[in-house]
Each structure stands twice: as C-alpha cells, then as structure tokens.
Symmetry: C2
Subunit: 169 residues, 2 copies
C-alpha cells in the first residue's frame, strides 16, 4: 500500500488558471487544459500539505508550482527548500521569490550539483523522480514523479533532507 | 515489502577495479574504495539481471556501469536502451559502444529531453531517481536511486518504457 501513484510527463497542455475561479473558464477556444493532468495531480499532492513541506529540488522555475508553495507558506505550513546554488542564480529561478516571502532556503555550496528532485509532505508522502520543477519539464520532457507513502522510504529521504539541511547551513 | 533500498550519492570514492580480480587489490595506498559503496550496490542490482534489462536513462557515460551492461548483453540478457538524442551525441557517451556491441538502442527524436533515469530488471526490480549514469553523478552530485520491487510501480514503468520504445522507433 506504499504506492499512491506515478505521474508521467509531458502533459499535452498547461492547466488553465481560470479553473481556480468560481464558474471555471469561460474563454471560448481556450488552449489550456480543463481536465486533470499530471501537473494538476502533482499540485494537488503539494497543496495537501497541512504541517510541513520539505523540498529538495535542483531547479524551480514553474510558477504554477511556486504559487502553491507560496500559498502553503502563507497558510502557516513550515516550508523548507534545498536547491542547487548554480540553478538558483539563473534567470527564471523562483528562489528569490521564496526568500523574499520569508521561506527558509538553503543552497549547496559545491561546484557539483544538488541534483535531487524530491519533496516530503507532512512526513506522510514522498514525491521523487526525474522531474525538475520547470515549465520545460511539464510540457516538453519525458519525466516521472512517483508518489509514495512507504514509511521506510520516507524515513530515509527525511534523514537525507535533514543531513543536507545541516550540511548547507 | 516493495522497497528494497535507497542509494544516496555522492560516494566518497570510485570502486577499486582490482576488487574484481582473484586476491583483490594489492596496491599499497590505493585511493579507490574497497568496501561497498552506493555505486557497487547499484552495479550489483544491475548485474543481477538474468533475462531482461530495460534502461531508460538521459545520460550514460560511466564505464563501470557500461561494463556491466555490456557483460549482461554478452551473457544473453535482452538489453534495451532508451536515451536522449542530444546526450547520446555528446563526447564520452557510451551509446556508441552499446550500438557497436549489438545492443538495441533508441533515442527520443524531440528537441525536448528524454529525462527519465530508470531501469527495469527482469520485470522484478525498478531502479529510479535523480541519478544519471555518469561519473560526475557518482562522486560529485547529491543524487538518489530508489530500488523497488512493487508490482504496481513496475507495471506502470514497464508500460511507460514500452510506450516510449514504440514512439522512438
Ligand atoms: Zn481555459
Ligand atoms: Zn585498490
């Protein structure tokens, strides 16, 4: 019972943001997705966080994802982010937004890459795979995210997160 | 019971190749690893293939890994490889060696990336995570590989492999 689901990318379309409004999308011929996609399922898992969200992801540039992270932070969920120092400095990185919002962010300090792409939700769910949190990865690349509730896996990834969190202090 | 183990990188050292010889390593002050590492455990899982090995990995340049793949092919294990077309063309890629040895290789034909990093062993084990099969990823980067025996996960990744195998024909 440890496997919740696997999400494969690319999605054919980005999700329509009007679907978050009362009444949904009223644009005729809207080119965005109105049905569930891998990204909307991914966002729903992230958005299910109630107490903590530990993110350890190489590149974060996708605004649909960043908006959920920022909204969780505003709701009082304890968000911690570990990312790659080189990627954090590149254009389009959402790391500056996170820091400005008061989210705790740490970067690896090595010339090598902090290349993980995992997140831990409430110590209850692990998201892990090849998927960087970028727009290119959503609608361009072949990617996977496994959504897992296995206690043994969650313990080992939480220990890894805690170790890197100290290491990159 | 679906989780076998999680391997975290970087390893402090590359494995000593003399450990494969009778008598082991006799070099005084040898700088390579003589004890198990994440890479040697990874190689042991790969090398356990008896009937089939389906590889779907963005970049493959690590010769310790390639040697195991080539040796499985010579022993009669059915090896199939899906990789990224851009990466396959870069210097140091082991794809040319695989093709020359007669291994079946297919490349994505898109400008986007075939960014998966998973392998299926005998339809019995799934290796998946952030880990590209490169030397940099072994001793430089922070990376993970989950080793999983969960039938539901294996079914969904096998279906994904088969789909991409047809798509990149
Ligand atoms: Zn719409
Ligand atoms: Zn040695």
């Amino acid at each position: 019972g440890g496997v919740v689901e696997t999400l494969f990318f690319p999605d054919a379309k980005l999700p329509c943001r009007n679907m978050n409004k009362p009444g949904g999308c009223r644009r005729p011929h809207c080119e965005y997705a109105h049905e569930p996609t891998s990204l909307t399922r991914f966002l729903a898992h992230l958005g299910s966080a109630r107490s903590s969200l530990d993110i350890c992801v190489f590149t974060i540039t996708n605004d649909d994802i960043s908006d959920v992270v920022l909204s969780l932070h505003r709701r009082g969920v304890r968000v911690r982010i570990i990312t790659d120092n080189d990627q954090a400095a590149t254009q389009g990185s959402d790391i500056v937004k996170f820091v400005q919002a008061g989210i705790l962010v740490r970067r690896d300090k090595t010339p090598a890459h902090m290349h993980h792409k995992f997140a831990l939700i409430d110590g209850r769910l692990l998201l892990n795979g090849s998927f960087n949190w970028t727009r290119q990865a959503v609608t361009g690349n072949n990617e996977n995210v496994t959504v897992l509730a296995d206690p043994q896996l969650i313990r080992s990834f939480q220990a890894q997160f805690n170790k890197l969190w100290e290491q990159f202090k």
